[in-house]
Symmetry: C2
DNA sequence: GTGTAAGGGAACGAATAATTCCGTTCTACT
DNA sequence: AGTAGAACGGAATTATTCGTTCCCTTACAC
């Protein structure tokens, strides 16, 4: 609480966090919702980003960067090949990079730099996939693009609060990993299965 | 092309088909989009349904009915238990009932009757699940609610035209079925994996 | 004290969309 | 042939939503 500059620096982060939370929950959310969530006025947003689009581009760029980081970290893992691959998958699901990247596509105009980051991210993912197949732990008829779509399917799950959502995503990640691994096998599923009430509650929620 | 009455009857169906297509593609689509897709004026819609909400309720009801039909048909299958269960899963994915039901939730106010249909649908799904587990062909740590969420994940896939989308949905259904079946095994995946171009194209599509 | 960066939030203006309304067309029946 | 009215097309209406701008206030730095 020392000085306007410190407050501003704190707001930088507050706004980004709020934007992440709001836009991952609803990619079409109004910018006022971000300001409210951050507890700041609208002009605090416009002081930092010239437009909504610029903010979305920033978020997407951060998401791609995060994706790249997680993947590079997994590529550096020299241990058990399957565990390295599985850890990578869990890492991407945890980071929820899909909600910050492809799910936002269409709400803004992608920049050249975003394109370059996306290419790099794709290359790293392919490398990760290649390694697991070469080590004989990942079924070879699944391609890197398949993995990308599997991530999207898992990211489509949204139920209850953030923690419950994460728990369920890991549950289904574990399930699908059972059919990706060589040899296939059933492993214990983490987290409790959804309750009927959790599912039926959604009928009354405004979209 | 005989008479206004025949034309009107034809329009009944045209409008429903258009509504299904439009709202499964975008649950928040404007009603004018339905009219345009159907090739009729807006008043042709309002003559049949008092409001947008009424149309959505009708679509959802039809979707639940379809779900119930497919499930009852599968329950009537007395052949190989696994094949019956797998056929049921494929049937639901093909019918795309998820896009007409839970995906529309929040865009309208559910009626009592819809609630009853949903309960019935749930009961039938549970029966289907129970049978497969009892026959020892479905892993028992997966619950009916799990199956429901798996359907939703698969229904979240939307890539290219309708046929391509269907193809990919079956690809990932097959994949996840590998980890549902007792014993687990890898079976051939149907349909070609997504191309990189198919995935990257979405960056420019308006949401 | 005062200049100025930072911020709050009302006001503006441009969509977007549900619904209504009015004039037109075509059929069925006299 | 003439006409009542069902079925329609689509413009006009009205409400609402949102991105963006603007103006005024605050509080720190000097």
């Amino acid at each position: 609480m020392s000085g306007r500059k410190a407050q501003a620096a704190r707001n930088d982060e507050l706004i980004l966090q709020a934007a992440r939370a709001v836009f991952t929950a609803d990619p079409g959310a109004p910018i006022a919702a971000v300001a409210e969530k951050a507890g700041v006025g609208i002009s605090a947003l416009y002081r930092r980003y010239p437009s909504k689009e610029a903010l979305l581009q920033k978020l997407c760029g951060d998401g791609l960067e995060l994706y790249i980081e997680v993947t590079e970290r997994a590529l550096a893992d020299e241990g058990d090949p399957w565990e390295a691959f599985a850890g990578y998958m869990r890492g991407i699901v945890d980071a929820d990079t899909n909600s910050l990247t492809i799910k936002l596509a269409g709400t803004f105009h992608p920049t050249e730099e975003l394109g370059r980051s996306a290419v790099k991210a794709g290359a790293l993912a392919t490398e990760m996939h290649h390694r697991a197949v070469a080590a004989g732990v990942l079924r070879p008829d699944v391609t890197p693009a398949d993995i990308a779509l599997l991530f999207e399917q898992i990211a489509s799950i949204k139920l209850g609060d953030e923690e419950r959502t994460s728990q369920l995503r890991h549950r289904y990640l574990t399930l699908v990993m059972d059919s990706l691994r060589v040899p296939p096998a059933h492993r214990d599923l983490p987290g409790p299965a959804p309750e009927d009430g959790e599912l039926s509650a959604r009928w009354w929620q405004p979209s």
